[in-house]
C-alpha cells in the first residue's frame, strides 16, 4: 500500500492540483477573470439565500387553457357548419365537450365528415401515438366533440414554452444580472432573479397576462339596463382600473384590433397635460384595421381593454390613420413604464399563478455569508487543533489532507457551476467531519496494528489497506442519502446535497491517494523506527 510508482504519484498530485486550480476564479475579482477563456471562468454561484433575490414558481392555469380551447372549438364548429350550409341548433360548451344538434337528420353524416377534419393527429413520435386532438361521437342528430386530455396537455406545454419567452423579455427589462427562467414539470415555470430589493414589481410584471384589445363601447345600452344586467348577448360589462374600479362599461365582445398587432410601445408624457402616457405603434395589418374602425366610428367612444379591465374609453375625435396612438389613463411614471414593457413583450397565452415565492433581502444574504464564514473558520480551527493534539505529526498530515480536500470541493463545485447555499456551507463543514473521520479510521487501525506487534512500516501498510475498505463502505451509505436529497430537494436543500455528495467523493479520493502519498513519502524519507501516534 505504501509503494507508489513514480507516474502514479505524479498523476495523483496533478489531478488534485488541477481540481484545486478550478477553485481559483472564486477568489479573484470578476474583472480579472473576465478575460480568461470560458472553461476557466467557471465558478461557484451564490444561492439566492446568500446573495439575496427572488425565487418564484409559476403555474399555467390549465382550466383557462381548457376553456379557451373549448371556446375556439365552438367557433370552429360554427364556421365549419356555416361553410357547409348545414343547419344546426343548440351549439354550446358543456363540460369538456362542445355539443351541437343538426337540424336535418339526413345531414348528420355530412356534418360528421366535415367536423372530423377539425381533429388533428397529435405530435408524438411522427404522429405515431395514434392520438388525436378530438373525440367525436353522435347520438342521433346530436354531435359531441370532446377535447382529449393529451390535446390539453400538449396545449399547456406550448403555453409554457411561449410564456417562458415572454417572461424572459419582461424580466430582462428589469436589468438584473443572470435571471434564471426554466420549465419545471409539465405546467410550471421557475423564475429566479438574484439581487432584487423588492420583488413586488417583478411579481406585477409576471402576474399580468397583458392581453390588450381595442373594442367599441356600446352606447345604446342605458344605465338602467346595466343595473338589471340586461345587456345584448354580444356585449359584456367590464370595469375600469384604479379610481374607476367601480365604473361599469358596456363593451362589445368584438375586437377591433388586438395587442398582437402592436410593434412597439414606449412610455412618455402627454404634451398638453404632462401626464405619463404610453405611446404605441401598430404593424401594417393593425394600422389598417385601426384606421378603418376609427373612420367608421368618429364621435363614438372606444375602449382600451387590458386583461378585462378598461384602462380608458376615449371618444374618437378624428380617424387615426398613422397606425400609432397613445394610451392615457391615470398612470404613474412607473406604471406607464411597466405597461410599455408588458405590451412590448407580448401577452401570455394563458394566465400564470404564483404558487411559491421565496425572497431573501440582500441584508440577510450578507449576514448569512458572514455567519457561514465565521462558523467554518471556527469549526476548522477547532478540528485542526484537536487533530494536532490527538495525533501530532499524523494530525498535521490529516490537516493538510483535509485542507486540500476542501480546496478540491470548491474546485469541483466550480467545474459544475454549482450553487452554494447556507445549508451548502453546513454541508462543507460536515464534510470536514467526514474527511477527518477517514484519517481517524486509518490512524486508529495503524495503532492497533502496532499494538499487535507489527513493525512500523508493516503496521502502516496494513492499517491503510484495512481501513480503506471500511472508509468506502461507510461513505457509500452517506452518499446514497446525499443522492436522494439531491433528487427530492429544491433550492437550499439541494445545495446541501450537492456539497455533501461532492465532499464524500473528494474525501474518498483524498483518503485513497493523497493521505497515503503523504504518509508514504514520510516513511521513505525518515525510515521511522516507531510510529508517532
Amino acid at each position: 500500500m505504501l509503494y507508489f510508482a513514480r507516474w502514479k504519484a505524479a498523476a495523483i498530485v496533478l489531478t488534485a492540483l488541477v481540481i484545486c486550480l478550478f477553485a481559483v476564479p472564486n477568489f479573484l475579482p470578476a474583472q480579472m477573470v473576465d478575460s480568461w477563456p470560458k472553461w476557466a471562468q467557471r465558478h461557484v454561484v451564490l444561492g439566492l439565500d446568500l446573495q439575496g433575490g427572488s425565487h418564484i414558481l409559476l403555474e399555467v392555469d390549465t382550466n383557462a387553457v381548457r376553456k379557451e380551447k373549448l371556446e375556439t372549438l365552438r367557433d370552429d364548429v360554427r364556421r365549419v357548419l356555416r361553410d357547409a350550409r348545414i343547419g344546426y341548433t343548440g351549439l354550446v360548451v358543456r363540460g369538456d365537450s362542445v355539443e351541437v344538434r343538426v337540424r336535418e337528420a339526413n345531414q348528420t353524416e355530412q356534418a360528421l365528415t366535415k367536423l372530423r377534419e377539425l381533429s388533428q393527429p397529435l405530435g408524438g413520435f411522427l404522429g405515431a401515438s395514434g392520438q388525436r386532438t378530438l373525440d367525436i361521437s353522435n347520438d342521433g342528430t346530436l354531435i359531441r366533440l370532446t377535447v382529449t386530455e393529451p390535446a390539453i396537455v400538449d396545449r399547456v406545454r406550448q403555453a409554457v414554452d411561449q410564456s417562458i419567452q415572454i417572461i424572459e423579455r419582461r424580466v430582462n427589462e428589469l436589468g438584473t444580472v443572470e435571471p434564471l427562467i426554466q420549465r419545471e414539470g409539465s405546467d410550471r415555470i421557475l423564475v429566479q432573479v438574484p439581487g432584487l430589493q423588492d420583488p413586488t414589481r417583478l411579481k406585477e410584471l409576471l402576474g399580468k397576462t397583458a392581453k390588450l384589445d381595442f373594442r367599441m363601447v356600446d352606447t345604446n345600452v342605458t344605465a338602467d339596463q346595466v343595473q338589471r344586467g340586461n345587456i345584448p348577448p354580444d356585449d359584456e360589462i367590464l370595469y375600469g382600473t384604479g379610481p374607476n374600479a367601480k365604473t361599469p362599461y358596456v363593451i362589445e365582445k368584438r375586437v377591433l384590433v388586438s395587442g398582437g398587432d402592436l410593434t412597439d410601445a414606449q412610455p412618455g408624457f402627454d404634451q398638453r397635460t404632462s401626464e405619463p402616457i404610453v405611446t404605441f405603434r401598430f404593424n401594417t395589418t393593425g394600422a389598417r384595421k385601426f384606421a378603418e374602425a376609427t373612420q367608421q366610428n368618429v364621435g363614438k367612444p372606444f375602449a382600451i381593454v387590458l386583461d378585462n379591465q378598461v384602462i380608458s374609453a376615449p371618444v374618437i375625435r378624428e380617424p387615426i390613420l398613422g397606425g400609432s396612438g397613445q394610451i392615457s389613463g391615470s398612470f404613474t411614471v412607473q406604471s406607464a413604464n411597466d405597461l410599455a414593457i408588458l405590451l412590448r413583450a407580448g401577452a401570455l397565452p394563458a394566465p400564470l399563478t404564483i404558487i411559491e415565492e421565496r425572497t431573501v433581502g440582500p441584508g440577510l444574504g450578507a449576514d448569512s455569508i458572514a455567519q457561514g464564514k465565521l462558523s467554518s473558520y471556527v469549526g476548522a480551527a477547532m478540528v485542526i487543533v484537536f487533530m494536532l493534539a490527538t495525533y501530532g505529526l499524523f494530525g498535521l498530515f490529516a490537516n493538510i489532507a483535509v485542507a486540500i480536500n476542501v480546496a478540491m470541493i470548491f474546485g469541483v463545485l466550480s467545474m459544475l457551476n454549482a450553487t452554494l447555499t447556507l445549508p451548502g456551507i453546513a454541508g462543507i463543514v460536515l464534510t470536514v467531519g467526514i474527511a477527518v473521520d477517514s484519517n481517524v479510521l486509518i490512524y486508529e487501525r495503524i495503532r492497533e496494528e502496532v499494538r499487535g506487534g507489527r513493525t512500523p512500516i508493516n503496521a502502516i501498510d496494513a492499517g491503510f489497506s484495512r481501513a480503506l475498505a471500511t472508509i468506502l463502505d461507510s461513505n457509500i451509505t452517506t452518499f446514497i442519502a446525499a443522492a436522494v436529497l439531491f433528487y427530492i430537494g429544491t433550492g437550499p436543500v439541494r445545495g446541501f446535497a450537492v456539497t455533501l455528495g461532492v465532499g464524500i467523493i473528494t474525501t474518498v479520493f483524498t483518503a485513497f491517494t493523497l493521505t497515503r502519498l503523504i504518509v508514504a513519502g514520510w516513511v521513505r524519507w525518515w525510515r521511522p523506527k516507531r510510529v508517532p501516534i
Binding site: T200, G433, S474
Partner: protein
Amino acid sequence: MRLLRIVPDNTKFDFMRFRRISFPMSALMSILAISLYFFHGLNFGIDFKGGTLIEIQTKSGPADLAKMRATLNGLGLGEVQLQEFGAPNDVLIRIAEQPGGDAAQQAAVAKARQALGEGVDYRRVEVVGPRVSGELLSYGIIGLMAAILCILIYLWFRFEWQFALGAMIANVHDLVLTVGFMSLTRVDFDLTSIAALLTILGYSLNDTVVIYDRIREMLRRYKRMPMPELLNASVNQTLSRSVITHVTVSLALLALLLFGGQAIHSFTATMMFGVVLVGTYTSVFIASPILIYLGVGTGRDSLTGSGKDEKP
C-alpha cells in the same frame, strides 16, 4: 509532546451485558417519541403546511411586538404568529394559509406589507401555496423512504441480510427519537428538517457500518469465539475511533450552532441531537447487540468457545 488519549488502549467494557438495560430503555424512548408525535405533534413549517413567513427588521430601535401583533391581527388574515428572531429588532411573522387558493396567499402578503409600513426592512419573504406544500410533504416522505430502502439494499449486498436488518432497525430508531426531539422542542419541521433527518441517517449508518465491518472481520478470523464476546471485542476495538470522530463532528457542529446564525439553528441543533447523542449510543448499544437476536453466528460452538483461535 504527549498526545491526547481520550480512550485508553485495550478497553474491555462489557457493552453486550448492557443490552438488558439499553433495549428496554430504547423501546421506552421510542414509544415516548411516537406518542409525542401523535399527541404533541410536529410544528410543521410553511413548506409542508402552506402559508407565509416574513422576516423583518425594524429600521429604528427594537420592534414593538405587541403593537405589530395588534396591527397584523386586525387584518383578518386568520392566525398570525410573531416571534423575536435572534435580535430584538428582528421579527419572524407567520401567516397561516389563506383559504381561496394560490392567489389568496399573495394577497395576504400584500396586505401585511401595507400594514407594516415603511419602517421595516424585509429580510425574507416565503410564500408556499397549498398545492406546492402538499407536494413537498409527499416528496419529503417518499425521499426518506427511498433513502432507507436504497441503503438497506446496499447493506444487504455488502453484508449478510441480518446486518442490513440490524442497521435499519437501529437507524430507524435514531430517526424516531429525533422526530420525538423535534416534537418536544417545537422546532419548525420543514424541508431542512428532512435534510437533517437524512444526514443523521447517513451519519449513523456510517458509524454502524464501521463497527459492522469490524464484526465481519472478527467473524472470519475467530471461528469459535462466542458472539457476545466477539461483539464486545469489536466495539471495544473501534471505540477510540468512534469517540474521536464524534468529537470532531461535534466540534464542527458546535461552531455551526454558535456562529451559523438563526437560519440554520434548528438544523444544527437537530443534527447535534441525532448524530452526537443518539447516533453514537445506537451504534454501540443497539446496532451491535441486536445482531445476537437476529441470529448472526448461531452456527458457532458457543459452549466450548474459548476465543483462542488461530491468528491469521
